[in-house]
């Protein structure tokens, strides 16, 4: 039996969705349309003249081996950030869920980093790992490890992943904790009475029941790693050393707002738009099938 809401006034439903449609039009379709439009032009920085170039901005990008390499860097970076932030958050949520005394304090502390702006998070981690004055660098030196992310690409990648993931752990934690608390206690208690260990209860009952939350967070985190981590990269590495942490969205910023090459920058935005569209389709087509609602 399906529930159907019927409106007596035929215009009322349109009126009710109008604000949402309007917001989407103004804040998504309009700018996205502008980006597509701009990506076909080669303008000068001041917008005094503009030359129509068709698809040239795109061929220009794909002929550049450094741009193609940036896809790999982005894939590595996004995978690491998503994996790290989600697994740590899940671990913390499971542990915080079991805390009986003072759980409020634990939770508040764990949610705290979410209030830190990405740029500030970047500066914070940069201070700790600064090759010459960082506290963490000093400790590592004591252990005999010479930390220098200014020249070592792997260390630089590790650092930007850590800073980006750290910030996102809180957000994920919040959702995982809520998801955990929504799981009926009776199911878990029944399994416990049957003699299932904690690990077994987690993997056969809790984790599958959490799958809608996990799936939602997967989508959100991939989008976060793609689009919102630019401030962290900007403050910590600036895309370096060499091109080791130059992710796609950071290149959009550099070419557009440092290089004043708005045509290429717009073309890159359009490519990103398609990329995220494809990723979302993949996630909904293939991963969502394994989600138990």
């Amino acid at each position: 039996m399906q529930k159907r809401v019927t409106f007596h006034n035929r215009w009322l439903p349109y009126l009710l969705v109008a604000p949402q449609v309007l917001v989407t039009l103004v804040f998504f379709f309009w700018p996205a349309g502008q980006a597509v439009w701009q990506s076909m032009y080669l303008p000068d920085p001041f917008g005094l003249s503009s030359e129509f170039v068709g698809a040239e901005n795109f061929t220009y990008l794909f002929e550049d081996p450094y741009y193609r390499a940036s896809f790999i860097t982005t894939a590595v970076f996004s995978t690491l950030v998503t994996l790290a932030s989600m697994s740590v958050a899940l671990l913390l949520a499971v542990m915080a869920d079991r805390v009986i005394k003072g759980s409020g304090a634990y939770r508040t502390l764990l949610i705290w980093p979410y209030a830190v702006a990405p740029a500030v998070a970047g500066v914070l981690w940069l201070f700790m790992f600064n090759p010459s004055i960082g506290v963490a660098t000093y400790w590592l030196k004591g252990l005999g490890y010479d930390w220098n992310h200014v020249l070592n690409g792997t260390e630089a990648m590790g650092l930007v992943v850590a800073a980006s993931a750290w910030k996102q752990v809180s957000y994920n934690f919040l959702f995982f904790l809520a998801g955990l608390q929504a799981i009926p206690k009776s199911v878990i208690e029944a399994a416990a009475i049957d003699g299932a260990s904690f690990a077994r209860r987690f993997w056969t009952i809790v984790f599958p029941l959490l799958s809608p939350t996990t799936f939602f967070l997967l989508v959100v985190n991939v989008v976060y790693a793609f689009f919102e981590t630019f401030a962290v990269i900007h403050t910590i590495t600036g895309g370096g050393p060499q091109q080791d942490t130059n992710i796609l969205v950071y290149k959009v910023f550099k070419d557009g707002f440092v290089g004043q090459d708005l045509g290429s920058s717009a073309a890159q935005s359009v490519i990103l738009l398609f990329l995220v569209g494809i990723l979302t389709v993949i996630q909904f087509r293939f991963i969502e099938r394994r989600v138990h609602y």
Partner: protein, 438 residues
Amino acid sequence: MFGKATLFAAATATAILTATAASAATEIQWWHAFTGRLGELVAEQIETFNASQDTYTVVGSHKGNYSETLNAGIAAFRAGEQPHLLMVFEVGTATMMGAKGAIKPVYTLMEETGKDFDPDAYMGAVKGYYTTTDGEMLSLPYNSSTPVLYVNKDALSEAGLNPDMDLSTWENVGAALDVLAEAGHECPLTTAWQSWIHLENLGAWHDTPFATKDNGFAGTDTELAFNGPLHVKHIGMMGEWAKDGKFIYAGRRNEGGARFRAGECAFFTESSAGYAGVKKEAEFDFAIRPLPYWVTAAGAPQNTIIGGASLWVMEGHEDKEYAGVAEFLNFLSSSEIQAKWHQDTGYLPITNAAADLTREQGFYDENPGTEIAGVQMTGKAPTGNSKGLRLGSFDQIRGIIDEELEAVWSGDKSAQEAMDSAVERGNVLLRRFERTSK
């Protein structure tokens, strides 16, 4: 109740009075990129000017770092809200020059407003960066510096070197680095702004082109040329030093400064404007020396080129406002203001008169080493290779150079490979810029 009403009326009256008083003066907007100590000094200059007359009021606004300020100016122009004066770093010069219709060249401004203006009063090597090949000044040089060598004399003594030894050549510096490394020194040499100092200035100092067509002055169809023997030799040597722990790479900007000021590094190549910071923080005996050159390479020493920013006048304002802008620019160029700015910051005096005044005031005698930057720049008349650089998309090209140099410092590429690659990648950007600036 009555008291409150009177107070309110009084406050309104005061507000109206202040508003009329303020609107009597023509307002001039100046967007700049300075904070901290430099921001205070800029504010002081503005106050002095505003207090000296009551026809114009200059309003200074900080718009972020150099790149952000340029961006803010461009975005404002597109929205029709541009300031009268915009501070643009030297790297953005070609971008601004290409923006005909957005900028009013300084020489045109001075002609139109009929103000006294003598371009020859400015230091040739400073002015050259911002004038056309016909000698017409496009923007007013504001803060200009040039790279010099900072020496930690205590570190040299500890390693058994004579702290006053001859360090005018890279050959001598190299020998000193050997001794320092031998003595177990952890950071014999570090640098700030690697592309500016070790490629751009290296070329000018040895009268060798960084790019063809007089480093871009003679046309936008210029091509990069820093993969020749001189540049490759120098970068190759630095790469060797990096491998042996004699050159410590700290970062793309001036990250090395913190280490030098903390006394960790023996030599530091940095802008002459780093003087104020070193003087304030260094708890060791330091000296300033001219930027070294290769004695085995021909042409050196020629003259070094500047870094820093100039002030661009934007189009689209009223005549009486432009009169104020012209007056303010003349005020900034006056000897007293320039001499003070030079002494406070370590930036070069932009006029010869300001340099003379500084000498008369005895500043160079009290602060040895501060005259070196000026001497280094003015020792010889600039050639086509040492007038400056005028390359489009240069901020991005510097980014490419930074990446390629990092490949040399980490040992991933040879100097020749890295420079060839940087030239090739940079040329692609130059061609793209050439098309947009037609």
